[in-house]
Structures are given as structure tokens and as C-alpha cells.
Amino acid sequence: MTPSIAIAVRFLLAKKRSMLMSLTGISFGVAFFIVTQAQVSGFKEYFIDTVLATDGAIRISDKMQPIMTSLEASTTEGGKSSFMVGNRENYRFIEGVEFPNKIIESIRELPNVYAASPVVTGNVYIRGPLRNGSGFVYGISLEDHLAVSALEDQIIEGTVDDFRSTPMGILIGSKLAARLQARVGDSLLVQAVDQRSRFHVTGIYETGVSEIDKVRVFLHIGQARSLLKRPHGASFIQVSLFDRSKAPSDAQAIENLTRHFAASWQEREKSWLQFFYVIGLSAAITVSAILLTSGLGMFNTLAMIVMEKTREIAILRSMGYTRRDISNIFIWQGMIVLILGSMIGFSFGAAMTYGISNIPIGVRGIFTAERFVVNWSLLHYIYAALVATVVVLFASLAPARRAARLVPGDVIRGTAS
């Protein structure tokens, strides 16, 4: 232990009560920072997982037809280019994907693409055993769609095997089922513009997203084509990725490759993601106020110690302690409180996060959660420690500088006289 640390420890112990208050403040600040970030990012991650499990990482939809000259760089004699500069404002969009199989074949070349599933969609009216309601058909190729969504896990009544083995099977959302008062095994009459067919409910699913669960129904793609009178093509292609964070660049690559509009999940859910970002930031700022208050308390205590210890500082300087040694004594006092406060805060924060994750709640809306959702991330602990470090450094630097600037001759002469 260096002499500066040894002296810092003794000075701290001499001011137990004041330092205990600062320590408590830092501990609470760190703990609350961790807890709030764990909650906000927990709900955010849960929302993202729900979005990806339901609508995939990327959706390829309308064909992009250039309406202005765009720059293309040709590297082959055939003039086929893999590089194009343009933006979406220079295109008009032709609804749907005309040749989904060709597009799926070409995007499989991209290393981050895991799977792709063509989907045919359309509005329908559904007549149930007791009640009627509108719905939105998703015609899917089941095996492909299971690879780009968590549909199998979302089925809460019936099984995916029942749907697989029933050509006229239908999967309906939980809220739609409740509205229609339909159960597994019931027969539903699904009516498009001038076509109608009867389907058997083979399963009820729940994504947790109310807007989906109350309208979306899944049919086999062949039946959907027949019902919607769309014998070829697809409304969109749902794509899943190995690394979801790379979705924006993959979407751009897909647009360049296929000349079809491709939207990443980050683009589709931009407003919700921004909402979570703002909430997280707001929570961090609010909790940082606790740390700031503790920092002010610590500043006060350290400034008091400097004032009370001018003679001791002068005598240390007369012994050969440098200005830096003196400064370090006060910075170490801050650091000791910071390290102890962070450790206590980490433990308290982890305990509170665990406790909160067991509190039952019934969130319904953009997702469904039965308990508080928390995200255990090392980053929250690092950020909390960083904020606390900045506060403590500011709190200890000014007293440390003041102590280091004391002129020993002046202090001793003043006292002696």
C-alpha cells in the first residue's frame, strides 16, 4: 500500500459518518442505475424478440422500378453490376414480389441470411360458429415459415402438426378466437372478395402483440392463393438472419441485389425503438441525479477535510511528499468510496433486479408479459460504474487540487504565529 493510500484510508476513517453517507448515496445510485436499465432494456429486448419471432428480421416486399437515372458501376462485360448508387425517392414501387423463388434463391447467397419464406396476404371476412369478424390472411409455406418465425412456439392450443396435416387447416390468433368464440376443431367460413372457403381451426396462437393476435390468420399458401385469387407471386418474403444486428446492412444488400424494397426490423420498428431509447436515457439521467447528489456530499466532506488538515498537509509536504502525493490522498479517498460504493451497488442492484423480475404484472399491447422483464447485462454495471466514476472524480478533484496547491511555509508560519 502506498503512503498516499494509507493516509487516505486513515483520513476516511476519521470522517466515518460523512463518508458513510456518501458511500450510501453512491451505492444506491449505482444500484438504481442498474435496476432501471435492466428493466428498460429488458422490455426492449423482449419487444425485439417478439418482433423477430413474429415478423422476421427483414421483409422484402415491393419491386423498385427506377424513375430517374441512377449510377451503376459495371465490372463485367455483360454489364451486370453488383454496385448501385441510388435512393428510394428515385424509385416507384410495384406492389408485391413477382418471382419469390428467384429472389429467395439469390438472397441465400448472402452469408448472414438464415432462411426466407414467401407470404401471400389479403383481407378476409370470417364467419365463426357464433360470431363473425374481419381478419387478415397470411398464406404460408409452413416449413419455410417455421424457419423465419417462432410460430410453432406461439401456438397455445392445438399443434403445428395438426395444421401441417390438414390442407384446409387455419391457425387463428388468440384475440380473434375470443372475438369469434372459436375453438380448435371448429369450422370457419373465410370469405375474400368473391371467393369463400371453409377451414378447420387446427390451432390458436398468441404472439403477445394485440394488433396481430386479433386479425392475423395463417393458411397454407396454396389455399390462400386460391382464396385470394393470386395464383403466383407473393405479397412479401420474410427473412431471418444469423446476426440480427446486421439487418440494416443486409436489407440494403438485398435491395441492391433484388431491386425490391427490403425493410429491416430496426427500420420497421424505429418509433418503438426510439421510445425505448428515450425512456432508458431518461431513467439514466434521473438516477444519475442521485449519484450527483452523493457527489456533492462527497465534495463537501473532502473540502472540509482539506480545510481541517491544512497543517497535516503542510507537514507532509515538509517531509518530502509531493503535490501529486497530496492530491492523490484526496483522489484515493474518492476512489475508495467509489470502489466500495460500486461493489455494494452492484450487489444491491443485482438483488433488486432479481426481486423485480419476480413481480407479477400483466402487460398486454406491443407484447405480453406476465412478470417484469429484466435484461441481465454486464454493460449496465459498467455504465453505472462509469457514471459514478465521473461524479466521484469531479467531487474529489477540486479538493485534491486545493490541497496540492497549499504552500507549506505559509501554513506552518500562520499556525506557528
Partner: protein, 231 residues
């Protein structure tokens, strides 16, 4: 004092000038002071209050800066505006004893004595402890090593301060009214401790004092008046 110094100059100052105060209250305290301190010799500065004794002591101890003149330690001139160099020289060559003990109240007697040694960093922890214990035993405080300053008498506190000043075996020991706060019995005990240990180690000792008995016991007495030494 009967013992003879080895006449090696430990500290010298030439033509030192210093003002104190600001504006109308600015006073020319030291007016070209010259002084040599020899190893193994105990010198006393006496004189009326305000004549510049303590100011000179702080300048010689590199705790303050002169406006004019030079200071030499071990025949090397001390650069004027180099705080880092001054701090290093203080650590290695200069020990201070003040009128008040200025012990750190949170540290025991032994820990206080170890503070300069820990800064110099030349000894292991065990060696530092052994040296601190030896110094405290020399001044008859061997049974109070682990007492806090608040658990010692005024005389004992000042003797611990002397042990602390001698911790790094400095070649120069500067004492500003070291007995000024003590009764007669303790004054003599502190003075004896200070001079005996310093002489044994061949240190140059300079004591600023108002006490004529103390001054008489020194090898040399210098009388200061109005910022200059008088013959």
C-alpha cells in the same frame, strides 16, 4: 556543547532577501543574510520577535522561496523555482521540528515516524518498523510505540516529532521553537534528545529559540536583529 564539528558544510545561504506582507504592510524581513551550517554542529538563532528568524528557517528548509540570494545544500546550489527538486531535497536531506508537534492524529507514534521513510522508499516495511522503534526507544518512548498522539503528553508528542524529523537520517535538522510549547523539564528533555541524536549522526542542527538556556547549550549562537545577523 563540547564536541567538535567536522566542519563539513551541510547548508549554506548567501545574500538572502525576503519581504513579507502586501502593500503598505509589506516588510523587508531578511536583508542579505549569509549563513553556514556544519555537520555535527548545533547552532541557535536568537533575536526579538519579527526579526526574521523563522522566515530564514523556512527558506533554508525550502518551504518558502527567497527573492534574492542562493542556498546550497551539500555544496550544490538549490534551483529557485523547482518545487519538485525542493520536495526531493526536503525528503532526503532536511528534517523539521516545529513549535507544535504536527503529528498526524490518525497514526500511532511509530506510524508517524515511518511516514518520511515510506515516502523515501529506501527501506522495507520491516526495516522501517525497526528503525522507527529504535528512534522511539532512543528518546525513551519504546513503550509507547502504538499510542496515538492524543494518548501522549506534550513533551512526548514533541519527542515523537523529533524522531520523525530524524527518520530519513537527514544531514540538516531545522527546529523552530521546538521547546516553545513545553515546560522547563520537558524543554530540556526535548533539547537533549534533539542534540544528542543529531550529534551522534553528524547532522547540522539549527534551532530558532527564545529560550536563553537552550541557546547557551548550543555550539554556536547567532543573534538576529532587523533581518541581519549581528556579531
Amino acid at each position: 556543547m563540547s564536541e567538535v564539528a567536522d566542519r563539513t558544510i551541510a547548508l549554506e545561504c548567501r545574500g538572502i532577501h525576503k519581504h513579507l506582507g502586501e502593500g503598505a504592510s509589506r516588510v523587508h524581513v531578511l536583508k542579505g543574510v549569509n549563513l553556514k551550517l556544519y555537520r555535527g554542529e548545533v547552532s541557535a538563532i536568537v533575536g526579538p520577535s519579527g526579526c526574521g528568524k523563522s522566515t530564514l528557517l523556512y527558506l533554508l528548509g525550502l518551504l518558502d522561496r527567497q527573492e534574492q540570494g542562493s542556498i546550497f545544500i551539500n555544496e550544490q546550489e538549490v534551483p529557485l523555482n523547482r518545487d519538485g527538486v525542493h520536495t526531493e531535497l526536503r525528503c532526503e536531506y532536511i528534517g523539521f521540528v516545529f513549535q507544535f508537534h504536527f503529528l498526524l492524529p490518525e497514526f500511532s507514534a511509530m506510524e508517524n515516524v515511518m511516514l518520511p521513510m515510506r515516502k523515501l522508499g529506501r527501506l522495507s516495511l520491516q526495516e522501517m518498523q525497526a528503525r522507527a522503534q529504535s528512534l522511539l526507544e532512543d528518546i525513551r518512548l519504546g513503550d509507547k510505540l502504538h499510542r496515538l498522539p492524543s494518548q501522549l503528553s506534550g513533551g512526548e508528542q514533541q519527542r515523537v516529532a523529533i524522531a520523525r524529523a530524524l527518520a530519513n537520517q537527514p544531514s540538516i535538522l531545522l527546529a523552530d521553537e521546538p521547546t516553545g510549547n513545553l515546560d522547563v523539564k520537558n524543554s530540556l528533555m526535548v533539547f537533549d534528545s534533539l542534540t544528542r541524536l543529531a550529534k551522534e549522526k553528524g547532522q547540522a542542527v539549527l534551532i530558532v529559540t527564545h529560550n536563553p538556556d537552550i541557546a547557551r547549550k548550543c555550539d554556536r549562537t547567532l543573534r538576529m536583529e532587523d533581518g541581519l545577523f549581528k556579531e
